[in-house]
Amino acid sequence: MRFPVLTATALAVGLLGASAAQAQTEIQWWHSMTGALGDRVNDIANGFNASQKDYKVVPIFKGTYPESMTAAIAAFRAGNAPHILQVFEVGTATMMAAKGAIKPVYVMMKEAKEPFDPKNYLAAVAGYYTDSKGNMLSLPFNSSTPLFYVNKEAFKKAGLDPEKAPKTWAEFAVAAAKLKASGQECVYTTGWPSWVHIENFSAWHNLPIGTKSNGMDGLDTQFKINSPHHVAHIQMLGDYAKKGWFTYSGRTNQGEARFFSGECAMLTSSSAAQGNIRKNAKFDFSVNFLPYHHTIEGAPQNSIIGGATLWVMSGKKPDEYKGVTKFLTYVSKPEVQANWHQGTGYVPITYAAFDLTKSSGFYEKNPGTDMAIRQLNNKAPTTNSKGLRFGNFVQGREVIEEEMESVFAGKKDAKTALDQAVKRGDEILRKFEAANK
């Protein structure tokens, strides 16, 4: 009859353990960081938990950005939302419009009497997530920007100077011709086509993506991505696709594998891809600013961010919000941010973290890791390059990418495709506006 005694002991120990843990307030953090990034997220949470005894942050991987956002919406409807949710940049408008579901970060910080100054954060990053009065609604966490990666060995083979990556699209054409002539099967590919070639293209050339400061000033915004400059750029890519100078790889980061495998000589994709490329590429490569059209006045301006921020959900107890506030303050500390930035390829969110990394000599030892922040800070942001805020932009981006795909497949010319994209995109914006009056 030893079994019941064992069970009783186990139960007692379990209950004791449970009651001890109850003294700590648990804070649920839903995120979408995988692999090495997920490990870093756990490091941050463990660091915070070890630094104090009152709160315990529990990071939970809930799937990709759309999956975790959907899960959070469903959980909110069931009254079970997490405390902190990592939402990607295209979900910003949806989160901002959900006034009853979120607790704006600046409100929470004020109520908890925590010092919080939006000016400590990078202008290009903070601008994306502040309202028209300059109040920050969510905490920037992992922001990236697209960069231009060049395979130096492929350049050498084609007779080009490997240290001189193309700065303009005109120089790109020269390089592409030589690369193709030297037998390079795939000359150039891209990840995240809409993010790179429509959204960042607009910001980099100081062109508007939509009216009302790219949607920041009102829900009645309309897309402006069918301007003559946009049409010319996408038509250029369509022509390059026909010539074999541009190979389309898909809507996410599928192009990155083609670059680090050596298949494609040039790549535009997220700055966060650097880690992966460094790990897998068996050749020397350089990290550069995006190419620009020297014929467009104002270029190059500055690029805009991708990535995600941390939103705080509403309906929690004041004690829990105190814990969330402490955690967000911890995450913004220069050392924590610097560590996160150096280990991932995301940009440092605060100026303090950037200075800390610079003074530690990190950028000298790791060339190319500061390109992202330099491109974001290239010039002070204008209304065209502060960021964007379009409702239901998950759908909107897909519409844009569908139309772009038809140009790359040679089915439509760029003018028809972009006009269609604007028409369909505006319908989606109007639906969002109607549902969020």
Partner: protein, 295 residues
Amino acid sequence: MAMEKRVVFRSAWLPYLLLAPQIAITVIFFFWPAFQAGWFSFQLQDAFGLQTEFVGLRNFEELFNDPRYLESFRITAVFSILVSTIGISISLLLATMANRVIHGALGYKTFLIWPYAVASAVAGVIFAFLFAPSVGIITFALKQIGIHWNWVLRGDQAMILVVVASIWKQISYNFLFFLAGLQSVPKSMIEAAAIDGAGPIRRFWTVVFPLLTPTTFFLLVINIVYAFFDTFGVIDATTQGGPAGATNILVYKVYHDGVKSADLGGSSAQSVILMIIVIALTVAQFRFIERKVHY
């Protein structure tokens, strides 16, 4: 005349108690979501459900004015016709051949039935790898014979990919039923036809196939419902409705608009329409096609 054995429940409440679990499941997982979808289809709401507005038939109107939705109808029709006709034809061929083999028959039958155990999402992933534009083995083979395979850009190729993956899974199911059907054909009829001088092909089409019509009809219904719904896993794991909506079948569009785009009103309206279509299809099939079936 066989004697019908009837089971009589003497108790008044026992039958209901025994049925209760199944009814509870049906109500919770089928009727409740269906009613909620019907209710949502008349509303316009934001993603979090904080503001809902009754808008009557507006969601339905918007759907029918949307060329993408009408295109989805066409794509679903093409997809389900391809999957069911090609799937049934191939399985019938395989079943006829497997019926004649004596040596190793068990081996052939096992391998032909095996794919049914594979989940659709897994089948989708397998074919996604085989046909991957850069690294797929079949892509490589196609390149050798001069075919440029890139389903990420070409909609017709994406359709071929999902049709092949869906058929591969369903062949086992069809094969099983056809095999059983073939084995129930009386040998005496076939021998009689052979004695009368009919060749094997003539024998098949005039004797065996008419006797298989109940099985074929049943499989046609099952395959169309399969193509409408169970192929979701294949599409989600491979093309996600792309490129440019070329594989955006109705059931996938419901998921995409509801979950990824958080458009609950539109998505619910689509699922209501889908339910009406399938009910109508099934009724039509049982009414009209059943007449041609020889029992």
